[in-house]
Amino acid sequence: MVVEISVGEKPSFAVIDAIVHKHNVQPGSVIPVLQEIQDAYGYVPPVTIQRIAENMGIPASEIFGIVTFYSQFRLEPIGKNLIKVCHGTACHLSGAERIAHILAQATGAEEGETSQDGMFTVEQVACLGCCSLAPCIMLNGEVHGRLTLEAISKTVSQVKESETLTPAE
């Protein structure tokens, strides 16, 4: 079944059960299940962990351990727009830290935070693999490269204007 939920919606057990049942025939499907739940809600709502545990017959503590081990998973909701700032070697050499500074100014969110208006979540990532276009960021799944500080301010204000919704990661 295709799960269609908008980000920000309250988690529903029916949805979680459907996702789990789609996967539970395979061994080792906890991670894909969690990824699908995060795709649906933009994060892994903590209340879902117990439910997944019961459905899959795995201790909740183990699932919590998985969620906190992998940096992809979030236990808190994200803003409408997700920005990942690349801190790879090439981006570091081209001033990734300055990019983060400017983004914090423009969005109101430091790395690892969501802005107060809920518009932006800014995350730090190790490398987006677009090193020839350093410095780069990923905005809602799309890579923007060869950034200048002005280009970032412009991109952020464009997003603010258009009020786009986040396609979940």
Binding site: G28, T89, H101, C131, S132, V143
Partner: protein
């Protein structure tokens, strides 16, 4: 960068590079504009998307092949330029030379390259299986199934001298042999596409540009060791690679190339994709398998090796993307064609992601044995900044820094190891004089410390102690004895860590101390950062003569440290300045100086 393509019905062919780099540079709009303009003009031209053409510094790239063959490459193409290209080149027959990459520039870029892994990259449409079939795709698995025994395949790969391209360089044929000999009816093939090294994008480019070649490599590996199931473990940060792999797997399934009875033979093989969830350590094979099994990705002790007891305790063979992309070529062309290229102990080619402060960054493939100098200067065109070439970083956080003085080191596993760096998976970052080596060491340690899974004490706590020491040095609080402390910690971490992450984590620090000890000493004893990078050791000032008082820097300054009247030179208050450097980045007149 490519072999001459087969002409299709004598048509013009337009290729737009749409791997992640091309898309990030605006390639999709260029592609769409071409489509519209071709329709408007009623032109019967084959327009196709391709993957990475390798010249990332020229993105957006468009490759136009006239009906009589050959290639004309346009660089930095914008949607606005498309109309003129269509009118003058496609209709008028004359390339718009001012936007074309000159032939001699292409020659110097390509002369020292040899493309085996990247043979189809930039040439075929990665989302079209018929494109792959047109260039001889899936002929190698056909050959293996019809005319070679599984042991024969392993012998051919062993004979070719192919070594694992993930970094460690273990002979691929030998590895396959172990997995084949392991008893058990259920065996697995895993493709390691968890390319986690910051500064590396080879695997992403191959998967985005030629996914079928990797699938075919897995099929051949599966046939050779007797496996029926494969997993591709790919980073979630690579959505386009995942998308194109999904398309490729579906297409291969429809054609009977994967599934039950591959090509009508008595060989079953299925492949599924598993997305990594953002843990660098999962690039290590035992951690990767834990992650596929749905657990925290923590490495375990070897032996038993995966070939004996891997996924769910079954014999498992794990190869890197680039290794697998070599396989079909070797089976089709023979081991001797492959090992004709390279050095005594390192055969074939190596793909590098050439990036950093280099003029011609991109994806390159070179014969083993080429020197770093040839890569940086002949292919890379020297530094992008015009500043002096200082060093290259190879092998990411597990690798090390090789200084300019060793630029004549040949690129093969053993020579690179001798410098203290490692071949690694292929990240090759060029650094110019503006790079601070202590800062680079701190940067990598920060990464490995963060990514340590926490299982081994030396890795978990030792890397933190090293990081703290480096942070003290870069913030001007370095002390006598710090270098010895770093050396001692490094030895302990290398010896007492279970997996490659910990065993290699100190390499960036050790190589920078080895080759740039004077830079460390300047930080520690003189409290100076010669490259003017370390924030605590520098001050920013405005050069009054150059400052027209435009106020741009003041607008961007996050700490309100810059003040001045409009149209008069501004000043920076050192007390308020947090040394973020934004003013330097935004000033178009170079009026900000760093001391």
């Amino acid at each position: 960068m490519m072999t001459l393509s087969k002409k299709k019905n004598g048509k013009w062919v337009i290729r737009v590079g749409l791997a992640s780099c091309g898309i990030a540079a605006g390639g999709k709009k260029v592609y769409d504009t071409f489509r519209t303009k071709l329709q408007d003009n009623g032109l019967d031209v084959e327009l196709k998307q391709t993957g990475c053409m390798g010249m990332c510094y020229n993105e957006v790239l468009v490759d136009i092949s006239p009906p009589e063959g050959g290639h004309v490459f346009y660089k930095h193409v914008t949607p606005e330029q498309v109309e003129r290209i269509v009118a003058e080149h496609l209709i008028g027959g004359k390339p718009v030379n001012e936007w074309v990459i000159p032939a001699d520039a292409l020659d110097s870029l390509l002369a020292k390259q040899k493309r085996i892994v990247l043979r189809n990259c930039g040439e075929i449409d990665p989302e079209s299986i018929s494109d792959y079939l047109d260039v001889g795709g899936y002929k190698a698995i056909e050959k293996a199934l019809n005319s070679m025994s599984p042991q024969g395949v392993i012998d051919e790969i062993t004979e070719s001298g192919l070594r694992g391209r993930g970094g460690a360089g273990f002979p691929t044929g030998v590895k396959w042999g172990f997995a084949r000999k392991s008893p058990g009816s259920q065996k697995y093939i895993v493709c390691n596409a968890d390319e986690g090294d910051p500064g590396a994008f080879m695997d992403r480019s191959v998967l985005e540009s030629d996914p079928h070649s990797v699938i075919e490599g897995m099929l051949i590996a599966g046939y050779a060791i007797g496996a029926t199931e494969g997993f591709i473990y790919v980073r979630a940060e690579y959505p386009l690679a995942i998308h194109r792999l999904e398309i490729a797997l579906a297409q291969a399934g429809e054609r009977g190339l994967i599934g039950e009875g591959v090509l009508g033979c008595n060989f079953d093989f299925n492949i599924s994709i598993r997305q990594g969830a953002g843990a660098f350590v999962c690039g290590e094979e035992t951690a990767l398998m834990m992650s596929i099994e749905g657990k925290r990705g923590m490495p375990r002790f070897r032996p038993p090796f995966p070939a004996q007891s891997g996924l769910w305790g079954k014999p498992t063979n794990i190869n890197n993307v680039e290794t697998l992309a070599n396989i079909a070529w070797i089976i089709l062309h023979g081991a001797s064609a492959f090992n004709a290229c390279g050095t005594d102990k390192s055969k074939g080619t190596k793909v590098f992601a050439l990036a950093g402060k280099v003029a011609h960054g991109g994806l390159i493939e070179v014969p083993m044995g080429i020197t770093l100098r040839e890569i940086v200067f002949d292919i890379g065109g020297g530094t992008s900044s015009g500043l002096e070439f200082k060093a290259v970083q190879m092998g990411g956080p597990s690798g090390g820094i090789i200084p300019a003085s060793l630029a004549d080191t040949p690129v093969d596993y053993d020579s690179v190891n001798a410098t203290g760096a490692i071949m690694g998976s292929g990240g090759l970052i060029v650094m110019d004089e503006s790079a601070c080596m202590v800062d680079i060491a701190r940067f990598f340690l920060n990464f490995t410390q963060d990514e340590s899974c926490g299982k081994c004490t030396f890795c978990r706590i030792g890397t933190l102690r090293m990081l703290e020491t480096l942070e003290r040095i870069t913030s001007g609080k370095g002390e006598e004895g710090d270098l010895e402390l770093l050396g001692e910690l490094a030895q302990g971490i290398k010896r007492a860590s279970l997996c490659g992450l910990g065993q290699t984590a100190p390499n960036p620090v050790l190589t920078t101390i080895r080759y740039f000890r004077d830079e460390y000493e300047k930080h520690i004893y003189e409290k100076k950062c010669p490259a003017r990078k370390c924030q605590a050791l520098i001050t920013y000032e405005i050069i009054a003569d150059k400052c027209p008082g435009c106020g741009l820097c003041a607008k961007y300054c996050p700490s309100d440290a810059i003040s001045g009247e409009r149209k008069k030179p501004h000043t920076i208050d050192p007390e308020k300045c947090i040394r973020c450097g934004l003013c330097e980045s935004v000033c178009r007149l170079g009026a900000i100086s760093v001391h």
